[in-house]
């Protein structure tokens, strides 16, 4: 069991800056994120898109903002638990016991939810029968490509994941690639490669088609795909791969007994505490009168939640407000020279 002063859920900009605030005031913290990398929506949704409303930064991309926040955390030793999703939270005397899907367990007086709009999950096929084949013959990511050798794979999607796997799997499998329109949004070089392999007969390309139904009882047998002109084709296939990007789900947080309204968590504006003592919500996931879903608001909310954490983590000490420009204690924590 890992003991920490505060556990942050979510490694997006708000979670990162909240960690910075906690460390500045002398608390330790660890961060859990469902994604395999740091940065949250900034990295997953818009790494290359410029942002223009970060105070004192006229323009930066999602990736640059993330890298700057990571750099800002360099003086501190913060443990990240990536590709882990928080599943369960329960109270044990004064502390929260938090468990992840990997079995990591934390004991902490403070849990700060900086979860954006929830955790990212793969977007699935709209056809309902797909559920029963999920993780047997329908996958939304590839964990072991060996199982596809010598089989027929039907890949859906028009982005890099769909195209990259179509190219890769066509080496040892029969590949069908199905996409709802003629244009692909993947890298041009990969798009060219797919067209080349299609000419060579290694990939069967079906554009302007979408899946309408799936056939098979215990075993997947075939699927029907329909195009814009309502023409239906039946394709025999052993496996189906769907790459439709990610969606955001609140996930297990919804069951923690917090006051939730439309995927957001209600908090007060003094501590950004939820209806559960010691559980805070900051950034896009929190809700209060006048809430703005801006990164800068997340920074403010995290700074206040961090001060509230101090009281529970150091019940016998008094928090003293200090500036980074003048405090020797803070400068020592940052590892910079005092004047």
């Amino acid at each position: 069991m890992i003991k920490t002063d505060a556990l942050i859920i979510g490694a997006g900009p708000t979670g990162l800056f909240t960690a910075h605030q906690l460390k500045l005031i002398g608390l330790n913290c660890e961060i859990v994120d469902n994604l395999d990398k740091i940065g949250g929506q900034c990295i997953e949704l818009y790494p290359d898109k410029p942002i223009y409303d970060i105070p004192a930064i006229p323009e930066c991309t999602g990736e640059e903002l993330t890298n700057n926040l990571i750099n800002q955390l360099k003086p501190f030793d913060i443990k990240f638990h990536l590709s882990e999703r928080v599943e369960e939270v329960k109270k044990e005397s004064e502390n929260w016991i938090v468990k992840t899907n990997n079995g990591t367990t934390f004991s902490t007086p403070n849990v700060i939810i900086a979860g954006g709009v929830g955790s990212f999950e793969p977007r699935k096929f709209p056809v309902k029968e797909c559920e029963k084949f999920e993780n047997k013959s329908i996958f939304y990511s590839v964990k072991n490509k060996k199982i596809f050798e010598g089989k027929t794979i039907t890949i859906f999607g028009g982005g890099d994941s769909a195209l990259d796997w179509a190219v890769e799997l066509s080496k040892n499998s029969k590949v069908n690639l199905v996409h709802r329109r003629e244009d692909f949004r993947g890298a041009q070089a990969t798009v060219d490669k797919v067209h080349e392999l299609t000419k060579e007969g290694k990939i069967q390309l079906f554009t302007k088609y979408q899946m309408t139904s799936i056939k098979g009882d215990a075993q997947l047998e075939s699927i029907d795909i329909k195009n814009d002109d309502k023409e239906i084709k039946n394709i025999k296939t052993d496996f189906i791969l769907g790459f439709f990007g990610l969606i955001m789900q609140l996930g297990p947080i919804a069951n923690w007994g917090l006051n939730i309204d439309k995927k957001t968590i209600e908090v007060d504006t003094e501590k950004f505490e939820t209806n559960q003592k010691g559980i805070y919500a900051v950034g896009d996931i929190c809700n209060y009168p006048g809430k703005l879903k801006l990164i800068l608001s997340g920074f403010h909310e995290g700074a206040l939640a961090a001060r509230a954490c101090f009281k529970l983590a150091r019940p016998n000490e008094k928090y003293r407000f200090e500036f980074t420009t003048s405090s020797k204690t803070i400068k020592d924590r940052l590892g910079v020279k005092s004047d």
Partner: protein, 106 residues
Amino acid sequence: MAKINYITSDNQNHTVEVQSGLTVMEGAVQNDIPGIDADCGGGMACATCHVYVKEDWLNKLPTKEDGEEDMLDMAFEPKKNSRLSCQLIVSDELDGLTVNIPLKQA
């Protein structure tokens, strides 16, 4: 100002006046019309404000920007008349626009 008609997947009509300058997505969210999630808040980054535009309106709307069609690849059951409602800015010209909200967004 324009009257926008939102039809939810259970065939309920919701006609509301939406101020010019707002998006069709904001018109739905501010009037508590169900079925538009708008997870990313209008950033064309999530495809959860997906609507079907009534056919006769398709050509009267501003054309899609590059990123919109890419995001629509990820929408729930996209069709020819699919749009992201966060990209439809309301003006007097859009008075009477009818959009159907899909069964779900994700």
